[in-house]
Amino acid sequence: MRGQPLLSTVIHREKMAAAPVMMPYFGQQISSKSDLVPDWTRQEVSTGTTIMAVEYDGGVVIGADSRTTTGAYIANRVTDKLTRIHNKIYCCRSGSAADTQAIAEIVAYQLGFHSIELDEPPLVETAANLFRASCYRYREELTAGILVAGWDKRKGGQVYSVPIGGMLVRQPVSVGGSGSTYIYGFMDANYKPGMNKEQCMELTAAALSLAMERDGSSGGVVRLASISEEGVERRVILGNQLPKFSTH
């Protein structure tokens, strides 16, 4: 059913865009089958998405596309999928927009409270575990694939992947979302440990552009952010400024 490997997960998620598979189907659901109300008004909002996070010595670089879809309609073409959880901890959201927004807000609250109790900036691993706790407990109800990335004093830059199902694993590089399937090869070939911040930024921008070119559910602009001891630096790369790979 909901397999852990990203491929089948992605196919399942793409079906999500076509029909709300997870919702129990009653005769009259939210809306009637009236012709007046087109298909895309009845479907759940999904962040089709390509997201990516890379560790480097001293911090992390995270990136995402900016497209949110309801069926075949683009509900928001300038979405910010890089959500702040804490000062130096961000998450990249993919899957259901409602589920990921709700989880991110809950985790941000929990982490903020925890940080005040500690009187210290929280650890990235703590944030990742909070995400995992919610995503695993409610795995049957949720569709959320999240990359947690940030910087803390103990372990520096870290990227944790919390895919659908609620697994937690730390990785030096991670991609997610429906567009990620198109860039696994690119990532494996081009990522090398020991890259600096600018190289990571270029790699992320290139990878996202390639995925956005091929995946219909990803597109818009590329949003990048780098998190390090100095702070958070955000960038936007507009459509016409994206790296070009096609010659025709």
Binding site: P24, T70, Y73, A75, A98, A102
Partner: protein
Amino acid sequence: ALFRHTCQPVNIRNIFLLRNAVLEVEASKVGCSVPAARKTGTTICGVVFKDGVVLGADTRATEGMIVADKNCSKIHYISPNIYCCGAGTAADTEMTTQLISSNLELHSLSTGRLPRVATANRMLKQMLFRYQGYIGAALVLGGVDCNGPHLYSIYPHGSTDKLPYVTMGSGSLAAMAVFEDRYKPDMEEDAAKQLVRDAIAAGIFNDLGSGSNIDLCVITKSKVNYIRPHDEANKKGVRTGDYKYKRGTTGVLTKAVTPIDLELLEESVQTMDTS
């Protein structure tokens, strides 16, 4: 069946099944179907301009293919500085906005401050998420607070987007086409009102689920201008002909009058309680 029941932990609450299953079964036994929930087919939209926000809506409410209300009000009051347009199931948008409006007023009294649009947005999205999309309310929330003008679109499942211009409802594609063509940041109030009027008009004339008049609500720091209707785009025409013919059109040949005598037996008066 896949029922969505969750155990209770920190924030995610129990989810109720909002459907009268017994009624549906009994009705189908007799051969009828449960009446469709009245939907506002709808075109709603909002735009942020230099001094505030302009919200717009059409005024048609449909029950299936019939127009149930030719002049319903889709722009709901949330607080003195915040208004909300609603698309989807009419009852859901009405009750949801009223509930949040009430809670926001209590919150405002508790904080001693004018409510913020972000607060209303949080309250709405957390409630809609709790009901997992069963409350069919798609909203355009706009207002002006201490941090300036804000505009949000809120979907039935509980996701929100904060944007400079948004459209919702069955006519949203038509309205969005107008916005994508002519929106500019920092417009003047009149230009913004004209743009919203044109976007709703696009929905009214190109979407069957939307129709009738265009309502506007202009919210600025100092005042709120609730213009209902701003534009009567579909006024009922005056009939040019008449099926009633004047006396004398048909010639009368003979006339015979027979009075019927009726005897008044009893007369009683019962006063109606009009208090």
